[in-house]
Symmetry: C2
Subunit: 329 residues, 2 copies
């Protein structure tokens, strides 16, 4: 039976999806219908430089597929998602905040040369968005907007069934759309970006700032002990009824709701999907986003039946999406 299973896998067409992060490189191998055949993760060790990192990645792909009985010949293409900014359509990483030695790296060509397979590069948020679109909550729809709430707010846009890339590969930076002219300073240099308020780290920062400015909160002790707060702290204390945690969550939800309204008035998705670490906050956060969406949305059209929901694939969205993009090559 086991042998038969291996033979079946050998006969199909398979695809590799890579989620290339500053800390870890996640690798998945998928069948043509996006069933996960194997999943692995290695430390990025970016300080070793592009050549060594890519060599280790290629070695890992060959090793793990071999051990799983997946013939290297069945791998038809490879997809890779990375942080930006990059010239994605040209396959070149320009520079990445968490990958200091990766400046002007032709990663697509390097991988292609070392693997002998077609390779496609896309933004990591786009890859995760595409994963949710083909295999997660976005199945069976054609228009979707995706936000991933982490240190920053990444995003992706599916318009009429396709990822929207823009004129220079850097469309769908919705975390850096401005919701407050001359508002809070964002790490990108702009003021008033959605990200400056509502990313996981800025949610935590706003709570810390409020406490430092004198607000009473059960989070005060946590801040004193750890020297900083996380969004997880905020949501834990929200569930315990802390008033400041409630106020901070509401402000985050209000900004996320405005990002939803702006997305609706821009590309008009059927679904707006939130992913990333902060969705661990669960229903209390999602309910407040929906509440503020209804509060702020226009009243001239009643049929704004966009669905706001959480992603369903968790951390696998990136590798699934990258593999699905490879399957389209």
């Amino acid at each position: 039976m086991e042998l038969k299973g291996i033979q079946e896998i050998r006969m199909t067409e398979n695809y590799i999806g890579i989620d290339f992060g500053g800390t870890n490189i996640k690798i998945g191998c998928f069948s043509a219908d996006m069933k996960l055949l194997l999943k692995t993760s290695i430390p990025t060790d970016a300080q070793m430089g592009p050549d060594a990192v890519i060599d280790r990645m290629v070695g890992n792909i060959k090793d793990t597929t071999g051990k799983k009985g997946i013939s290297f010949e069945t791998i038809k293409a490879v997809g890779i998602g990375t942080p930006g900014p990059a010239k994605y359509s040209q396959g070149i990483l320009i520079r990445c905040a968490n990958l200091p030695k990766f400046t002007n790296v032709p990663i697509t060509k390097m991988l292609k040369d070392k693997l002998g397979k077609p390779v496609v590069l896309d933004n990591d948020a786009n890859a995760a968005c595409y994963g949710e679109f083909v295999a997660g909550t976005g199945k069976n729809i054609k228009d979707m907007v995706f936000f991933t709430l982490g240190t920053g707010i990444g995003s992706g846009i599916i318009s009429d069934g396709k990822l929207l890339h823009g004129s220079d590969d850097n469309a769908a930076e919705l975390g850096h759309t401005i919701v407050q002219v001359n508002g809070r300073l964002c790490s990108c240099g702009q003021r008033g970006c959605g990200e400056a308020y509502a990313s996981a780290s800025n949610t935590a920062k706003r709570a810390a700032e409020a406490i430092e400015a004198g607000a009473e909160s059960s989070l005060k002790a946590v801040l004193k002990e750890n020297g900083q707060l996380t969004s997880k702290d905020v949501y834990e204390h929200l569930s315990k009824g802390d008033e400041l945690a409630k106020k901070i969550t509401d402000e985050t939800a209000e900004v996320l709701a405005v990002l939803c309204i702006n997305a609706l008035h821009c590309t008009e998705p059927e679904k707006i999907v939130f992913a990333g670490g902060m969705i661990a906050a669960g229903k209390p956060l999602l309910d407040r986003i929906k509440y503020y969406f209804k509060q702020h949305i226009w009243k001239i059209k009643q049929e704004d039946n966009v669905e706001i929901c959480f992603a369903t694939l968790g951390e696998d969205a990136g590798i699934i999406g990258a593999a699905a993009l490879a399957a389209k090559l």
Copy 2:
């Protein structure tokens, strides 16, 4: 010579473009390469109701093409742009603010039945956007965002060479994206929309409100005499050096610049094109939009070389775009 000209026109394929407004219906007949063959305009007289208005429109098309020697057989299709909200892909006007008797009107079917030609319906701002894209400042590019500054702010998005329609035909309502959470009330019921600050009529209103609140300005006498201000008044007094007109223009330009930044971070156009009555303000307005764009745009990517410019087709953009959409049927 004249006879030869007429024969040539008879032999080609031609398209009708209609810009259906609350006051006037503009009609143009175009050759396949979008050369204008004839242009006419009739009062809408919306109070006569859909049947009578459409009959007059059809009569006018037949009359004017006939008189110009354009054989009715050469007309291959008809495009029509109307205000929303509408079910554009189904060809149905739901209701239009300036067309009170036009509720649930299957305008595409009615025109098709009366003309015996294929008919396509789209949003009026989309049609004007498409006109600029195929025959105006958007020629030779693939990604464009278009704003028309009038009573409201209409908009259109060209993504990868196509009009972006969204999941329910109401994408590209960028005038109603929120740039100030809980900001100025917009006629759509939302707060803080770009339109609530920077449309032509809201620019004039903000000037009037400032004067009523005690601001000194040479516009004060105009407001007293006319009981209201227009954006034209504001720009006339701007050119005369009035300080309030300068302040109001700057606020409008700043909000328009933020709409440009948000458009760039959303669909990443190569060009952002402003049209509509308010562009008569000319270089002083355009220069301030560009100034605030540079002030507010992020600094993490230097290559944001989007071009911000004015439309070039004037009032003909709507009929050209509608005809070009018909030519694609």
